[in-house]
Symmetry: C2
Subunit: 167 residues, 2 copies
DNA sequence: ACAAACTTTCAATAATTACTGAAAGTTTAA
DNA sequence: TTAAACTTTCAGTAATTATTGAAAGTTTGT
C-alpha cells in the first residue's frame, strides 16, 4: 500500500465513520484530510482533493469551525483563507464528547425528566412509564456526567486513569 | 401532561435519538414502546400504536432481535408471536455498547492498523500520515477496550466503580 | 470608489435511506 | 392435507439528507 492508497483509505473510512461521532461524510472527510496534512489547506485545495463542490466545502468547514475542531489560519502573503484542524487526538476526543453531550444528550435528559415526573395516577401503565423513564434518566445522566468528567481531565486520562481501573 | 402525552413524547424522543446509538427511528420507537409496556406486544399492536406498516414492523423487530435487545415470547393460548424488550437499563446499555464495538469500532481499528503500518519512505507527508493514524489507532483501541471492560462488569458499574473515580 | 479575489448562501437536484403493501412463505389446528 | 392465521420478503415509492453551482455577498489592495 503506497501513500496515496493509504491516504484515500483513511479518508474514506473516517468519512463513513462520521455517523459514529454524529457528523456527515463530507465533514468527516475534510477533517480527516486536514488531520494528516502537513500544512494548512485552502478551500481550493480541499475541494480538489476530495472532489466536492465549493458550496459543500464552505458549509462543512463552517460546521467544523462551529464544533471547534477546525480553525482558520492566515498564511503570510496569501489573501485567501487556510484551514487547520486540532492535531492532538485527545483534545479532539474531548471536543467531540463535549459537543455531543451538549447537542444530543442534554436535551434527552430534559425530556426524560419531564416524562418521568408526570402525575402518578396509580394505574399499572403509568407506574411502568414512570419507573422505566426514571431508570433511563438516571443512566443517561450518569453517562453524561462520566463523559464530562473524563473530558475535563486535561492530561491523558485515557491511558492513565481509566485503563488501570479496569485492569 | 397526561399518560398518553408522556408516552408519545418519550417514544418520539427516543426514536429521534436512535442515531445516537446507531439504529433507525422505527427500530428505536418499537424498542421504546416495548420498554414501557406492561405486557408483551404482538406485531399487530405495535403497528397500530406506532402507525407503521406490517413490513416495516417485521423488519425492525428482526433487527432488534439480531441486536439481542428484543425477544419473542409465547403467550399461553395465543397463536401469534409476542415481543418483549430487555427491561433492565444497565443490561440494555451493555448490549448496545458491545454491539457497536463489534459492528463499528472494531472494523475501524483494523483500517487504522493497516494504514498506520505502510512503509515509511521518509517523506514528510508519509511520516505525518503514519504518526496521526497511529495516534488515532491508539485512542480508538483504548476506548474500545474501556467500553468492553465496562460492559463486562456485571453489577452496576456505572454508579459504583466509575463515578467515584472521577469525584 | 472600484474591481479582483475570495466566501457564503440557497434553490434545484441528486443520492441515500426508510417505508409500504401485496405476494410469497410458513406454521398450526383439525 | 387443507386452509386459516400469521410472518417475511422485496420491488416500488416516499421521505430525508447531502450536494451542486451560480448568484449574491464580502473583503482588500490600489
Amino acid at each position: 500500500m503506497d501513500y496515496q492508497e493509504a491516504k484515500d483509505k483513511f479518508i474514506s473510512t473516517w468519512g463513513s465513520l462520521g455517523s459514529l461521532w454524529g457528523i456527515n461524510k463530507a465533514m468527516a472527510q475534510i477533517q480527516a484530510l486536514l488531520f494528516i496534512s502537513t500544512k494548512p489547506l485552502s478551500m481550493e485545495e480541499i475541494m480538489e482533493d476530495l472532489k466536492i463542490s465549493r458550496g459543500n466545502t464552505s458549509m462543512n468547514l463552517r460546521q467544523l469551525m462551529d464544533w471547534g475542531i477546525v480553525t482558520k489560519t492566515l498564511v503570510a502573503g496569501e489573501r485567501k483563507e487556510f484551514f487547520t484542524t486540532e492535531k492532538d487526538v485527545q483534545e479532539l476526543a474531548r471536543i467531540v464528547a463535549k459537543e455531543r453531550s451538549r447537542r444530543e444528550i442534554k436535551p434527552v435528559i430534559k425530556v426524560l425528566e419531564e416524562v418521568s415526573s408526570i402525575e402518578n395516577d396509580g394505574t399499572e401503565k403509568t407506574k411502568e412509564l414512570i419507573k422505566q423513564t426514571k431508570a433511563l434518566h438516571e443512566l443517561t445522566e450518569t453517562m453524561d456526567v462520566m463523559i464530562n468528567k473524563l473530558v475535563d481531565q486535561k492530561q491523558n486520562w485515557i491511558t492513565k486513569s481509566v485503563l488501570k481501573l479496569f485492569k
